[in-house]
Symmetry: C2
Subunit: 114 residues, 2 copies
DNA sequence: ACAATATTTAACCATTCAGTTAATATTTCA
DNA sequence: TGAAATATTAACTGAATGGTTAAATATTGT
């Protein structure tokens, strides 16, 4: 059930969905509470939640609940670990000692092109 | 010149653009070399590069170059640091001792539903 | 000056996306 | 049983997105 990085980034591209993640980061919440946090109709939020769910960023909570009408969503961990790792890899571009060399090489090389 | 996290995620939502970042992560490259790496016309790549530039993920290299027709692009650091930090914050949802408590509370609480 | 090269901008088109309202489950509770 | 509450799916619409080809801009080299 691993979510691809591309799916994760596509799911997070919409600002509303990113804010939903920030809310779920505090604690799992039912769809209605999430919809109420935005000036947005329930169906619109429902679709955002579906995107997040299909892409594997959240899951519907199956735990026993006092009201079965509520659908409580919680974050899944894997996509965020993967995103974290990728961002760290990209950052390695600068932390490498290589970067200093790259700067130097870019400024002095003459015929080294592709 | 700080790029917002929302801009960063929007720029990375497209798989082509994410692959461009992966290529630039190795070393800065001219637009033509990037276009050649995908089965895609030069104008299409040019637009992807424009998105990445406008959103602040890459910059055109101003260093003295042997051929002024080439536009070499390189990654900017800040957006990736920010993305890394945000993903780490989301992950804290699990590494917190709180998480254990949350699981417990979810399973046992009865009337705690805001 | 002129042809070739590198890249972008312009104009166009098909698809995707995010929002809305209306209709459809499902569960709760009076 | 039946109205209220929670949430989703369906159908529609306008805006944004990503690709294409043609035209324009700037630089290089004969």
């Amino acid at each position: 059930m691993a979510t691809s990085l591309d799916d994760t980034l596509a799911a997070l591209a919409d600002p509303t969905r990113r804010r939903v993640v920030d809310l779920l980061r505090v604690r799992p919440r039912p769809a209605g509470e999430l919809a109420a946090s935005f000036r947005m109709s329930a169906p619109a939020m429902s679709r955002h939640l579906r995107v997040l769910r299909v892409k594997g960023l959240i899951e519907e909570e199956r735990a026993s609940r006092e009201d079965a009408r509520l659908r409580v969503y919680r974050l899944r961990r894997q996509p965020f670990v993967q995103l974290h790792n990728w961002a760290a890899e990209v950052e390695a571009f600068w932390s490498d000692q290589l970067e200093g060399f790259r700067e130097y090489a870019e400024g002095t090389a003459k015929g080294r092109r592709q």
